[in-house]
């Protein structure tokens, strides 16, 4: 097989993952494809070994009866064997259905039944137990196979097979019967771009989860586009640590790895990810905002415990990075002295910090999934991490938009990704057509029809707009976006997110739809505000007392005013500044139905429950009484009652803004 450029040209022809795998096994057979840390040592499989293993596994699965169009569920964490199962299934033109490993038995039963799963591949005993507990409800399920054998040796259940045995049997069969080997080659050749490549179930935050059907050719095409966009090569390093069932993992790791031919590393266990990250030193990294947030909090807490000298050094260089770091990263012109100073900072602070986090070699990092605070985003960029945002959906097989290197704005999610067409509907909804676009929701033609426009665009359900540079800004779920009485656009989540980026504010609930102005209810963050109170010598006996403290009001008032200033700077949002706010005397809690289980505020419910407060916010009074039921940790119920002060910030005027800014 000829090496080099020729193979890269050839790469354009493969339209399924098994074909890509075969191509890599020939073109770069000895390069690493998978790594997994086991017993403290990184084990590596080359592309040639991976290809042989996947073929053997496919043969084993075929023997168990997996054939064209059959569904195989994959239940577990990031382990090579489970990724191989995906490709092995695709090789047989069967459909892999990865599901979230932390699903409880009932949710799992729903998905497996909905998908008509024939075989389930489980990571370990825990998942096998879960599957066995629901197997009598699953009529189509014939076999359960498992990766980690511990604890399963004594299981007497029929139709339970170790994947290592399955693979060995497959290997022997392929070696001894040339016809089987040829049949497998034929199956790979028979694979076509419009085969179903995978079914990814949506997380189901809005109703029951739906199976998103993705076609092989489209998946490969989408991944080719982004691999070229971020110039990914076979020498990238990546750690696969996100849930297998999430489009983010399947795209970023599986699809891009198979297209670009780089190595995917699997962590030793879910708890060892930070260590594994440091050891692997990825060049491409993807994490949801909460990961970056938790990391920054940890850094800050540890810096507070550091020696005075280190703390001063850290503060000094981070301040310098905030001034110049992003400009240097964006390749803008920066005075030589500032550059030199930054280089010193890189040697003393930024470099060691990135090393401790495992980011030393990261060339491209993405965050997505929810809004990220501008400060948080800028912090990582300022220390030299090329962090970018993307906006994606399972229905697009991830990418809809993505920041391009050097053109990053924290408040946007970037322009349309390569070959993606985006339009904003009249009601503000973002709609797209993309190379990776899904085919249909499995067994839900009505839902599919609801989501697709007649001319083939996908409705995202998110409201957004393009700014002057052609970068997309996502405001909120389209159905939550309202208008003030004077017609000004009101995007509650947008305002709430801006507020929640302050560590002192845990939750915010904004009101304003069909009202004259915007008001918010705030929840203080007990840890952050408590620490602040301690430093400032404010004593308090309870959450309620602290929340009602006039100085706490003063603290939060500053935050609200800053948010207003930032809103004032945005032409479409300046009319939706916060006029009045209050601090709730109790923490919003999922046990009381105020938040969903995924910690999202239920605005309507809160408006009803705290009706006297909402009334107070809008009738001009400076105080409101509230009495509400709370559920304690142990399930007992009690009543919290008290007076809540309401702060009026006055109507915003440009003169006032000018004065404040001065």
């Amino acid at each position: 097989m000829a090496q080099g450029r020729q193979d890269v040209d050839r790469a354009g022809r493969e339209d399924t993952f098994p074909k890509l795998l075969r191509m890599h096994a020939q073109a770069r057979g000895s390069r690493p494809a998978f790594r997994h840390k086991d017993r403290g040592i990184w084990q590596t499989w080359s592309w040639a070994q991976t290809y042989a293993n996947i073929r053997a596994l496919a043969q084993g699965l075929k023997k168990l009866g997996l054939g064209e169009g059959d569904k195989i569920a994959i239940v577990g964490g990031n382990r090579p064997m489970l990724y191989w199962t995906i490709t092995a299934a695709q090789m047989l033109r069967a459909v892999p259905v990865p599901v979230y490993a932390d699903m409880v038995a009932d949710e799992l039963a729903f998905v497996l039944e909905n998908a008509d799963v024939k075989i389930a591949a489980a990571e370990d005993q825990e998942q096998v137990d879960k599957l066995l507990s629901i197997s009598n409800r699953l009529k189509s399920l014939t076999h359960i196979v498992y990766d980690e054998e511990r604890g399963l040796r004594d299981y007497q259940e029929e139709h339970l097979t170790a994947m290592s045995d399955l693979m060995e049997a497959g290997r022997m069969a392929l070696a001894s019967e040339a016809s089987l080997d040829r049949a497998l080659d034929a199956a790979i050749d028979a694979g076509r771009g419009d085969d179903v490549s995978i079914m990814l179930y949506t997380s189901g935050t809005t109703g029951r989860s739906k199976g998103v059907v993705l076609a092989a050719g489209r998946c490969v095409a989408a991944a080719r586009d982004t691999v070229a966009f971020d110039r990914l090569t076979e020498s990238e390093e990546q750690l696969a640590y996100l849930p297998l069932a999430w489009a983010g993992d399947h795209y970023m790791n599986y699809a891009q790895c198979f297209v670009a031919g780089f190595c995917m590393s699997c962590p030793e266990s879910a708890d060892t990810v930070p260590t594994d990250l440091r050891e692997i030193g990825p060049t491409f990294y993807f994490a949801p905002p909460r990961v970056f947030e938790a990391q920054l909090t940890r850094i800050m807490i540890r810096m507070q415990d550091a020696s005075a000298l280190k703390r001063r050094m850290f503060d000094h260089f981070i301040a310098h990075a905030r001034l110049w770091g992003e400009k240097i990263l964006n390749g803008e012109s920066v005075p030589a002295a500032a550059r030199l100073h930054y280089a010193l900072g890189e040697a003393l602070v930024y470099g060691p910090l990135k090393n401790a986090l495992g980011y030393s070699r990261v060339r491209v990092a993405y965050t997505a999934g929810e809004a990220i605070g501008a400060d948080l985003f800028s912090f990582y960029r300022s220390i030299g991490l090329n962090l970018k945002q993307l906006y994606g959906q399972t229905e697009a097989f991830l990418y809809v938009t993505a920041h391009a290197d050097g053109a990053i704005k924290p408040e946007t999610v970037g322009p349309a990704a390569p070959n993606v067409e985006i339009r904003i509907a009249d009601d503000g909804e973002v709609q797209f057509k993309s190379p990776g676009q899904f085919v249909t929701y499995y067994k839900e033609p009505e839902k599919t029809a609801e989501t697709m426009t007649p001319d083939g665009f996908v409705r995202t359900g998110d409201a957004g707009f393009f700014d002057a540079d052609g970068q997309l800004r996502i405001l909120d779920r389209a159905k939550d976006v309202g208008k003030l009485a004077d017609g000004t656009l009101f995007a509650p989540k947008y305002i709430e997110n801006k507020l929640k980026f302050y560590p002192n504010i845990k939750e915010a609930v904004a009101f304003g739809d069909a009202k004259d102005f915007v008001t918010v209810m705030l929840n203080i963050d007990l840890t952050a505000v408590g620490a602040w109170a301690e430093r400032n010598g404010i004593s308090y006996g309870s959450y309620q007392e602290l929340a009602g403290n006039p100085r706490v009001y003063g603290l939060l008032r500053d935050h609200v005013e800053q948010v207003n200033r930032s809103l004032a700077g945005e032409p479409r949002m300046s009319g939706a500044q916060i006029r009045r706010f209050l601090i709730l005397p109790k923490e919003l809690d999922a046990d009381d139905g105020e938040l969903t289980r995924t910690q999202k505020v239920r605005r309507g419910f809160i408006a009803d429950r705290y009706a006297p407060l909402v009334k107070g916010l809008y009738d001009g009074s400076s105080i409101a009484d509230i009495s509400t039921e709370v559920t304690f940790e142990d399930g007992r119920k009690g009543v919290i009652s008290g007076r809540v002060a309401i702060v009026d910030l006055g109507a915003p005027s440009s003169a006032e803004r000018g004065a404040r800014a001065a």
Partner: protein, 258 residues
């Protein structure tokens, strides 16, 4: 008890500290491959019994035979080299050392090369160290403590320290494993994990286990046979079901069955 292969036989053992009788005339045996529990109210002499078994205390009367050999006075390290390992009621680890080093310490008796070789860390000593490290990695994998491999033990939560201690005991590849309240101070999930490990150690390494535990639910689930002590006397001995319905045990320890 016919047909059983006896690993440890305790015959008429008595132990006193000055005028205090900790154990009076207690006899029982531990069969190969079983999980044997010792229960009883506080001060019943359970921990003293374990200390007698691993040679820490020397009984004034009675005989103990282990693996068919009746012993006279024996020191704890002799017990250890014969294959008796134990964990302690209050975790006894090297707090400043990492999980890995603590478990490696459990291999100390298995290290053949001399001090000088080990100091040089070359040739046969290095090969040996690699072998021991491999064994420890198996234990780390088995106990699912990969994430704390390099963490100083003193910084770990109590439940994990207990697990590391079990790891160190397992590193000795013991024939008989003595566990002194392995689940004290643990929450439900940690108890479930620990129970799972104990059963696995017993079933798949074939290690015989003697354990002291206050959580009666756990004891009844795990053990094959139970000895009940009260004020240094044995008041019952048998299967969990037999012990549970024994009137003397109910009066002394379990309380009235509801």
């Amino acid at each position: 008890m016919s047909g059983r292969d006896i690993l440890l036989d305790v015959q008429n053992v008595s132990l006193s500290f000055g005028g205090v009788r900790a154990i009076s005339d207690v006899s029982f045996d531990i069969a190969k491959g079983e999980i044997r529990a010792i229960i009883g109210p506080n001060g019943a002499g359970k921990t003293s019994m374990l200390n007698v078994i691993n040679g820490f205390y020397h009984p004034q009367q009675g005989r103990i035979s282990f693996n068919g050999r009746t012993r006279a006075r024996m020191k704890p390290y002799e017990a250890a080299s014969q294959g008796i390992a134990r964990t302690f009621q209050n975790v006894a680890l090297f707090k400043g050392m990492s999980t890995l080093d603590n478990i490696l310490a459990g291999r100390a008796l298995k290290m053949k090369r001399g001090f000088v070789w080990q100091l040089l860390r070359h040739g046969p000593a290095l090969d040996e160290e690699i072998e021991h490290r491999k064994f420890c990695e198996e234990i780390i994998d088995f106990l699912e403590i990969e994430h704390i491999r390099k963490a100083p033990v003193g910084t770990l939560p109590y439940g994990l320290q207990k697990r590391v201690e079990l790891g160190r005991a397992l590193a000795m590849e013991p024939t008989l494993l003595l566990l002194d309240e392995p689940m004290a101070g643990m929450n439900l999930e940690e108890k479930q994990d620990m129970s799972r490990f104990i059963v696995e150690v017993n079933r798949h390494f074939g290690t015989t286990i003697a354990l002291i535990e206050h959580d009666i639910g756990v004891v009844m689930d795990l053990s094959d046979r139970i000895v009940v002590l009260e004020y240094g006397h044995k008041i019952a001995d048998g299967t969990p079901d037999a012990v549970k319905s024994d009137q003397k045990v109910i009066d002394a320890y379990l309380g009235v069955a509801h």
